[in-house]
Every structure is written in C-alpha cells, then in structure tokens.
Amino acid sequence: MSFSPNADYFELFGLTPGFEIDQELLSLRFRELQRNAHPDRFANASAQDKLASVQQAALINEAYQALKSPLGRGRYLLARSGAQLDDADTRMDTGFLMAQMALREDLAAVPTSADPFASLDLLRQRIEGNEREMVAQLQRLDEAILAGDPEALEQGVQWVRKMQFMHRLLEELDSMEDDLVHQG
C-alpha cells in the first residue's frame, strides 16, 4: 500500500480529522505503517522501489510528528483548512508578550532563588497551565476550523502562535533543569 506525497495525514493513519485524536490509535497505526515501509523490507527490491519505500517512510514520519503533539496538530489542522501561518509576522498581542517577558524573567531568576528546584516546578506548573488553556481554546474552535470559518482560522492561528512561545519556554526550562541537576 502506498500513499501519495499529498496524502492527508489524518487519512493516512485512518483517523477522523480533528483536534482531538485517539493517541493510542495514532501510535499503533504509525508503527504498522512504519513496519510496512521499512527500507529493510526492500533490500532485494529494485532501485525504484527502494527509493519509493524511503520516501514513504519519510512521509509517515513527517505525518506522525505533525499529529502527535497538540501544537503540531493545531498547525496542521489550520494549514489544512487554508489558514496562513506566517512565522515571520512579529506582531503579537502586547499583553501576551508582556506576560511572556515576565515568565522569561522568572525563569532567569530561578538559579539564584532559595530553592531552585521548587521555583522551577512552580514555574513549570504555571506554563503548563497556560498551555492547557490554549489547547482548550483550540479545541473549542475545532469544528469551525474544520469548516474553514475565517474568523475561527484567524483565532486559531493566534492560539497556535502563542503555543509556540510556550513550547519554546518549556524547552528553555528543561535545559535549565538539566544544568541545575548537573551542577548538583
């Protein structure tokens, strides 16, 4: 079984398109597809079939990466409905940026706080709380985004952009935690 490079990612994994998916089913289907497309299975195949299997494996991987996280799924759903995700656009809601700046400042202050690990945990809870709220907002827009409602698409893009900041912040937090552990 082979898929066109333009295959719909949800269809590829046999999932109903939408923000909420069955994660277990996604992982299961991913492993099945990956096994079938594995280049080792094509060791004795023609050069053309070998190339095709590598391309299939890459497509399956890309699709899985896109769908497995809420951020990736949000981006894919929006793009699929025709929304423009312009990463070069630096205009963001000022209140959001100010809150983001404050979170960054709090993160920078963690190593010099009385109990760095406790501060880090508290900050993580705050950031993850924010993230959950954003995921809930996207979930609320799910049907309208699928239907291609322009207003929902615009709102969805704003939530996804905000989620990207939170994602980056959590990466910074993880790397700080690593540093703290290794200093310990």
Partner: protein
C-alpha cells in the same frame, strides 16, 4: 554555527540593557516576538521635546543574534529624530553584524521593535 565578532561583542557586552518607566510621557515601548523561535524583545526609547531620541534600552530573550540586533539598534537610534530612526532597515543591521541567512529574522525583529516603539510614542502624543 559561528557568530561574527560583532555579534559576540554585543552578546557578551550588551549595550543599554534595561527598562524605562512605561508611564513616562517621554517613553515609547515596542514589544515584539517571533513565534518560530519564541524570542521576545522589548525596545524602549526616551524622546526629548525636540523629537530627538535621547536614550534607548532593551531587554531580549532569545539567541545571540537577537540580543546583538537589539543592542545595536539602541546604539544607533540615540541622537536620531523619530523619522530617521524609523528608516533603520533590517538589512543594515544584518550587514553590520554579518548575520548568516538563517539569522536574518533576528534583525527583522529588531527593526519591528524600533518601529513599534516609535508608533507607541506617537500614539501617546496624538491630539
């Protein structure tokens, strides 16, 4: 990826890091962010009665190129009129700092930040 000497210089000795009081009538604040890398930049200007930028400061959370770009812009705008400061182009910043193509967006962020600060100041003084 290797940073240029100028980027390293601004990164290690950033100029004008700080905050001005946002409520000050003479202050314009520009806040911008890049979703792709999660960088956040705040650039502030202090403008005198003659419409000249007397002082500027910034705070940036991001990579070395983003910090260097904003640091450089705060140096450049001091002594300029608002109109002259609004003419600063990201290509000039990128050239001065010898930014590689993948870091051009950092200079765009700095250009957007100074423009946002100028608009904020002008909005405060309308009417």
């Amino acid at each position: 990826m290797a940073y240029s000497d100028k980027v390293l210089d601004h990164y290690e000795n950033p100029r004008n890091v700080g905050t001005f009081e946002n409520d000050d009538e003479a202050v314009g604040t520009g806040m911008v962010g890049a979703p792709a890398c999660g960088d956040v930049m705040r650039l502030q200007i202090k403008v005198n009665d003659q419409g000249i930028i007397e002082d500027a400061c910034f705070k940036t959370y991001g990579c070395g190129s983003a910090i260097a770009s904003s640091s450089l812009v705060t140096e450049w705008v001091k002594g300029k009129t608002l109109d002259d400061a609004a003419q600063i182009k990201n290509s000039q910043i990128a050239e001065e700092l010898a930014l590689p193509p993948v870091k051009i967006h950092c200079s765009v962020l700095a250009e957007d930040a100074i423009k946002a600060a100028i608009s904020d100041y002008k909005a405060k003084h309308q009417g």
